[in-house]
């Protein structure tokens, strides 16, 4: 087995025992990028030299006998909407094609001993579920290059799935970590809102965004989550709750646990492979001593509508700062500021971004505010209440991550199909709940199938424990 095919926890052991060096591991991964990325397109910027410098540093520290964290020296891909000091951070947009931030996101500061191999591709400004709206190039699914890797964290998921990184950081606003993780056959975790600092992660929808891990297996995801979680003086929405050792309870088993199956989600039109895997998961968990029961989340059907209104409203405000004044794209030869704004923003943003900005502008406008934005926030509370109620009956929920298998590149989804797909993931963001997508084997066509677990606030340990148990059933998806 090649180094790039191994999990981080396995590699961590080898590094600690000095059986391998961080440098050779990083070189191994960089070689994989060299080999694959011209086809896959997972990266916008490859930062090989820097990665090797970090690897070098890690090896030197270890040689000196310094005690290093479990993830020191593990090659990491970072979604390109997370700011990295001195390194291009584009959000896959022409608007920021030349933007080099003079600061790093807090999560990056916490991962300073992980060699960052590159900035990974995404849908422009994280708006999308296929990575096709990137202004630079699409990313392909490593399991079938004719298909999408999902989005918006398609680049990070594809990188981890193809050995172009051992682990990655993504962001999730309406499913953008979980859905690409499902499509690429890797683990993706959206933490509880307020578990991880958002400082330096370019805001899409402030009350929905979270930064989270994308990894080979559940234990890796637990390791990365622990490394990035915790309070931050630069983000007032992060909880001061202590960060537990997320690995500690992984293997405790699910005996006596209650797993809720939300009937409204199971009633959706789902691809047959998904249904099969859900049933298999249910059987396995029961065999392991858990009890599965049907629960109801009555207002589930409204989640996509609520999400689109709130996310686009917040986004329309968050993206207003891209005006050509202080950084980013400024159109040429503009005689006045009004022209400068209109031209710069029209040239800098792609059509999907413009659509969502206008949608959000409408939702917040004086005439529409009460019936659209404010109404959506009220229904949001009802949806959150449904979840809270369900957690009085069970410890976590099992449901599909998405409704179908990865579509072909260039294939336009019917609005109805995309809303149905959205429904599966957006509600966790609306309620601020932690949610994880776990690979559960392959479909007949050889495409990865993902299952989702949603837990109560700050119950990532519960999710990880159930996920680890299911992982014993489904195994990991191999990195080719």
């Amino acid at each position: 087995m090649e180094l790039y095919q191994k999990t981080a926890h396995e590699l961590s052991g080898l590094l600690a025992k000095k059986e391998i060096s961080a440098r050779e591991l990083t070189e191994n991964v960089l070689a994989q990028i060299q080999k694959k990325d011209s086809e896959l397109g997972a990266f916008i910027t490859v930062t090989g030299e820097r990665a090797l410098e970090t690897a070098q540093k890690v090896d030197e520290l270890r040689a000196k006998g310094e005690k290093l964290g479990a993830l020191a020296g593990i090659p990491l891909a970072v979604k390109d909407n997370i700011c990295t000091e001195g390194i291009l951070t584009t959000c896959a947009s022409k608007m920021l094609a030349d933007f080099i931030p003079p600061y790093s996101a807090t999560v990056m500061e916490k991962l300073s001993l992980l060699p960052m191999v590159g900035k990974a591709n995404l849908d422009e400004f994280a708006m999308g579920s296929s990575t096709q709206s990137s202004a630079f190039h699409p990313t392909r699914n490593p399991h079938d290059p004719k298909r999408v890797p999902g989005g918006s964290s398609g680049g990070p998921a594809a990188a981890v799935a193809s050995g172009e990184a051992i682990m990655a950081l993504g962001t999730d606003t309406g499913g953008s970590i979980r859905q690409p993780a499902a499509f690429c056959g890797v683990v993706g975790l959206k933490p509880t809102y307020g578990r991880v600092s958002r400082f330096g992660a370019v805001a899409f929808a402030s009350s929905l965004d979270q930064v989270g891990p994308i990894a080979r297996d559940v234990e890796d995801a637990a390791l990365l989550l622990e490394a990035i979680a915790g309070p931050d003086a630069l983000d007032g929405t992060v909880s001061s709750k202590a960060v537990p050792d997320f690995r500690a309870s992984l293997k405790r088993g699910v005996r006596g646990m209650k797993i809720g199956l939300p009937k409204e989600y199971l009633a959706l039109e789902l691809a047959p492979a998904l249904r099969e895997k859900l049933a298999e998961a249910q059987r396995y968990l029961e065999a392991q001593g858990a009890k599965c029961l049907e629960v109801s989340l009555p207002r589930s059907q409204y989640a996509a509508a609520v999400y689109h209104l709130i996310a686009s409203a917040e986004a329309s405000s968050n993206l207003a700062r891209f005006d050509g004044v202080r950084y980013g794209h400024r159109a040429e030869n503009c005689p006045d500021t009004l022209t400068m704004y209109l031209q710069s923003r029209s040239e800098g943003f792609g059509p999907e971004v413009k659509l969502r900005i206008m949608l959000g502008t409408y939702a917040l406008s004086a005439d529409a505010y009460a019936d659209f934005y404010q109404k959506a926030q009220k229904v949001r509370r009802l949806i959150a209440d449904d979840f809270a109620h369900s957690f009085s009956q069970c410890d976590c929920l099992l449901l599909p991550t998405t409704s179908d298998l990865p579509p072909l590149l260039g294939q336009e989804l019917e609005p109805r199909e995309s809303y149905t797909a959205d429904l599966c993931t957006v509600s966790a963001n609306l309620a601020g709940l932690p949610a994880l997508s776990l690979p559960s084997g392959m479909s007949e066509e050889g495409l990865p199938v993902g299952l989702q677990l949603v837990g109560n606030h700050f119950q990532e340990e519960t999710l990880l424990k159930v996920a680890w148990t299911l992982e014993q059933c489904f195994g990991q998806v191999e990195v080719k």
Binding site: Y103, T237, S239, V306, R326, T337, L342, R345, M358, K378
Partner: protein
């Protein structure tokens, strides 16, 4: 729910986006489609329900009044499209008519 091309142009202007060619009509159609879909929430009874702005019930965290030096002038201006005398330069400021 119908958003007309006229209304689309107004929204675009408010958001400082210029629309060219058929864009107003195209976006109008897409916006109408999405908003029609979202209108289903109108049918829900939300009497007595408070809007949910924050995903978790919690109160603000404040910081002490301490100065922490941050960016140098050079760093602040490093990405500036145009600058002069240590300041960001913009063309003549006019507001919407």
């Amino acid at each position: 729910m119908v958003i007309t091309p006229e209304k689309t142009k107004q929204l675009a202007q408010l958001a400082r986006l210029a629309l060219f060619g058929d864009e107003a009509a195209e976006f109008a159609e897409q916006l109408s489609g999405i908003l029609t879909y979202t209108q289903q929430i109108q049918s829900l009874d939300t009497e007595g329900t408070e809007p949910m702005i924050y995903p978790r019930a919690t109160k603000t965290i404040m910081r002490d009044d301490v100065v922490v030096p941050s960016l140098s002038q050079e760093q602040a201006l490093a990405n500036a499209p145009q600058m002069q005398d240590g300041m960001f330069r913009v063309p003549r400021i006019i507001e919407e008519e």
